[in-house]
């Protein structure tokens, strides 16, 4: 039988030049894992798999033995689904009334988008400007050479421009939100999203 030389054997050959190799590490492993060893390992694997399968059947039997309990859970699912649907219908009506008072759904979204824009502009530009001011007024900055100061100013200007571009993109996204809902109405799906509940769980099959 031809055995390929493993890295261990190769390194052994290099180090122990001139000495007789006593069987070799891999040779020992092959001897240890003979046909009997392989059979033993296979049996152990089969036992493990069989135990796992039996445990699964046993659990399923327990569930089937308490079949009434399963039916009860099904009834409770129906009950809470009906409660959720009823509550959603109530909240839909009250939200539509509020929206009507505000001047319609489009007006509501417009106001929300404006508020989001203000929040975004305030957070975003103020944070960056404060950061830049902090750097320019720091002692570390003043200690830099004229050349390094100019380089840092240029880097910050670049950052400012990148930030402006990002801000622009985000504001455009918000504008698109207003456009997409023009002449639209509040749907149950939209309400679910606003209330952070799973629409499909309540109204799905």
């Amino acid at each position: 039988m031809v055995y390929s030389i493993t890295p261990i054997e190769r390194s052994t050959n290099k180090v122990a030049k001139g000495f007789r190799k006593p069987g070799g590490f891999t040779g020992f492993c092959r001897q240890g894992l003979g046909q009997e060893g392989i059979t033993e390992r296979r049996r152990a694997d089969e036992i493990r798999a069989l135990k796992k399968e039996s445990a699964s059947i046993e659990s399923a039997i327990k569930v089937l033995n308490k079949h009434e309990k399963e039916q009860e859970v099904q009834l409770l699912i129906d009950k809470w689904k009906a409660i959720c649907q009823g509550a959603m219908a109530f909240l839909m009506n009250s939200t539509l009334l509020k929206i009507g008072k505000m001047g319609g759904y489009e007006e509501l979204v417009k106001k929300e988008v404006e508020a989001e824009k203000r929040k975004f502009e305030y957070q975003f530009s103020d944070q960056l400007e404060n950061e830049i001011d902090g750097i320019l007024e720091s002692d570390d900055f003043k200690m830099l050479s004229e050349y390094d100061q100019e380089d840092l100013r240029r880097q910050m200007e670049l950052k400012r421009e990148e930030s402006k571009a990002f801000q622009q993109r985000e504001l455009e996204k918000l504008d698109a939100k207003t456009t997409s809902c023009a002449e639209g109405e509040l749907t149950m799906e939209e309400l679910a999203k606003r209330l952070k509940v799973d629409y499909n769980l309540i109204f799905g099959e």
Partner: protein
């Protein structure tokens, strides 16, 4: 060493045979119950449905309680009163 391995393998063979017997019996019981309850499914699917249903019930209950709480806040009343108005019991009694 081979003798020991051989003895171990024999022991494992006996264990495997015993487990196979138990496995067959469990399968027989499962099929019998399935037939009685008119369920055409596998043990894995029975377990999967059991877990999915429990998860669904818990999620729906949490959502339902959350939504009725919003209504109660809006109406400035107790959550129990919202349930009464809707004609449902807040507790899940068997």
């Amino acid at each position: 060493m081979n003798n020991t391995t051989s003895a171990r393998t024999t022991k494992l063979d006996a264990e495997l045979s015993r487990l196979q017997g138990e496995h067959n019996e469990l399968q027989r019981r499962f099929h019998e119950l399935s037939r009685m309850l008119n369920i055409d499914s596998t043990p894995e699917l029975v377990m999967k449905k059991h877990i999915t249903d429990l998860k669904k019930y818990n999620e729906l209950r949490d959502t339902g309680l959350g939504l009725t709480q919003i209504i109660a806040n809006e109406k400035k009343c107790k959550i129990k009163e919202v349930f009464e108005e809707m004609g449902y019991d807040m507790q899940d009694r068997p």
